[in-house]
Amino acid sequence: RMRRDLGLALLLLLSAAVESNSMSPPGKPVLLGCRSPEKETFTCWWEPGSDGGLPTAHRLYYERERLEGTYECPDYQSAGRNSCFFDKEHTSIWVDYYLTVMASNALGNATSEPFKMDVMEIVKPDALGNVTLLVEEREGSPHLHVRWEPPSNTDTKSGWVTVKYELRVRQDGGNKWTEYTSGTQTHFSLYSISPGVVYTVQVRCRLDHGSWSEWSNSTCVKIPHYNQNERPFWLMVSILSAIPLITAACILVTKRKFVKQYVLPPVPGPKIRDVDAQLLKSGGSEDVDNALMINQSFPPIVAWKDQMEEYLIVTENDDGLPSNSQKRQKSFIIPVGFNLDLENIYCEETTTCQNAWEKKCNEMDRFEVDDTIKPFTSGGYVDIQRRVDNMQGADVKPVDYSRVKEVNGDNILIYEKENVPLESCGYIDVQIRGNIPEDYSRVKKVDSDNVVTLQSRHASVDTSSREKGNHYTGRALQKTRKTNMCTELIESGYVDAIHPSSNTG
């Protein structure tokens, strides 16, 4: 027993010795920070260092701008352990505080680093409580109204602080928050919410441009279903109204043909005599062409290609007349019409030209005639080029077209007069479109303005004249100058008939 007591005493002594060796002055405390919840008071906290094994006291000292001296914390209690609370009398804003905490024990002191702060920088309000949610229904869709109270210790009546709010909403199960800003209002409405879903709402606030408070505690609500009672009703209504529609559709389908006849009656089509409608439907264009042509007894088209390029060359002056003998041996086809182009003829005196022309025309009479002239059809076009040439190089009028109204036999052409200008004396160039391209028919006679009598006359031109180019000239002889119309065609002039089918291919 003595041995045990001795051992115990030894142990105690040893431990005491050990402990007494680690006793030391306190470690340096650290000032953690300060906070003002309403811009009127503030609290600061520190973290003590090691206490060195001895009871250690901590003291906070501060100096203030515009205030002489060093002061100690007015209140160590109100804000809990290791804190200092500055009440309204001790709080000033827009001045700097220099804080230090001193830890002291029996063996020594330790002072923290100085901490500089201004109240305006440390404003952070308390978290909000008492957030209420209300579900309202308007026009069939639910809304969520969120309401809350301003932080209880802030003075919102004098304008000393301006509180701004923010809230965030989350649907149940999800972890994504949607944030909204509420400004200075203490309520907020959410409109895009779905029934049957649980919503969680949190609110926070801040003063002026200070720090945001902590989020409030979550408040949840489940949106009820409002439309339960109405849905079956609308379902019945839609089913009942669908039945007649379906029956109507069935009827329409079964009686398709009848309906089609009624709604879309067949359109009567044109009937072409002697033309087989079936052939038109099924045949190719060649067949159609043949059918049409044969039935209407159109004359076949003769290719006159070689000869069409050859023209009667009429020289410009009196001297250049081809000799009769030349003419006689050549066989040429005078194209049915030619452009009575006045500009190519320079006549100083009309009379000489007239005479020369008459000579030419008479010569042409002797030439061989190809009887395969094809007649005009009524409905072809006579191309009338009227050139108002007052012998001084005036402007050329544009081409007018006069429609062939009727063809009597081969010779008489009556055309509807269009665009007849009442100009001073000019010459008319007449281009008559007939069946055969480049055929020229000699104008035999002109009766008034509406009848042109053609001579069916052809002659072929030989190759030598081709070298001189394709120019051809003619001139309408002006037989009488007595009328002002000057739209008379001159007898023994030539008219150009252009085959219409050459244009249509």
């Binding site: 515009r66 827009w94 304008g159 301006t162 200075t184 441009h209």
Partner: protein, 213 residues
């Protein structure tokens, strides 16, 4: 800054009439509301500027930073807590605001020119914000002239707070940054004062509209 509001969709004649009537009687609360929005923006800008600057501020600068009592506006007597502030009359409050604002006219120019050559990574952002500061400051000052015309004559008094710092904010990088930071912190404090005073005034003027407070 102040403009006359017209109603949308009204006929031209009635609108002109309304404007003529309204122009003669813009409520002070409306003017104060706009002024405090400007000052709010001003303070917000200065706060973010300080954060931008602090992002790369040399730690040594904190230690040898001049004391704020050396701000060129510190000689102006302003209220230092809520009770004092609520006891100041409206026109005196406005006079304080105008004096503070005018005191920063020249130093903002100095800040602006220094920002162009500031040896800091966020130099262009800072320079941009300083220019915004100048614009808002100018427009606020103009609006306050109008406001003071509607208040007691005391509002016209402007204390002169000249800036003696000159155009130069330092030779080497450290002193440039320190001086820039110091000037900015003085401005931040003064802009907060301006903002708070205007909001007090706004709340007082809008007695029937609690949402103004």
């Amino acid at each position: 800054m102040a403009h006359c509001g017209g109603t949308n969709g009204s006929k031209l004649f009635t609108m002109v009439l309304y404007m003529a009537a309204a122009c003669g009687a813009i409520p002070i609360s409306d003017l104060l509301d706009r002024a405090s929005q400007r000052s709010d923006k001003l303070h917000s800008l200065s706060t973010t500027l300080t954060q931008d600057l602090d992002s790369h501020f040399p730690p040594i600068g904190r230690v040898i930073m001049p004391r704020p009592s050396m701000c060129h506006t510190s000689s102006l007597q302003t209220p230092n807590d809520k009770e004092q502030a609520l006891q100041v009359s409206e026109s005196d409050l406005l006079s304080l605001v105008r004096s503070l604002l005018q005191a920063w006219e020249d130093p903002l120019v100095v800040l602006s020119t220094s920002a162009n050559t500031l040896p800091h990574p966020a130099q262009s952002i800072i320079s941009n914000k300083i220019q915004e500061l100048q614009e808002h400051s100018k427009s606020l000052g103009d609006g306050l002239v109008v406001l003071s015309g509607k208040m007691a004559p005391g509002a016209q008094t402007i204390s002169s707070l000249p800036y003696f710092g000159g155009n130069d904010i330092g030779q080497d990088r450290i002193s440039k940054l320190i001086n820039f930071n110091f000037l900015l912190s003085c401005f931040r404090r003064d802009s907060h004062k301006i903002d708070s005073f205007l909001k007090i005034l706004r709340c007082r003027a809008a007695k029937m509209l609690p949402e103004m407070c």
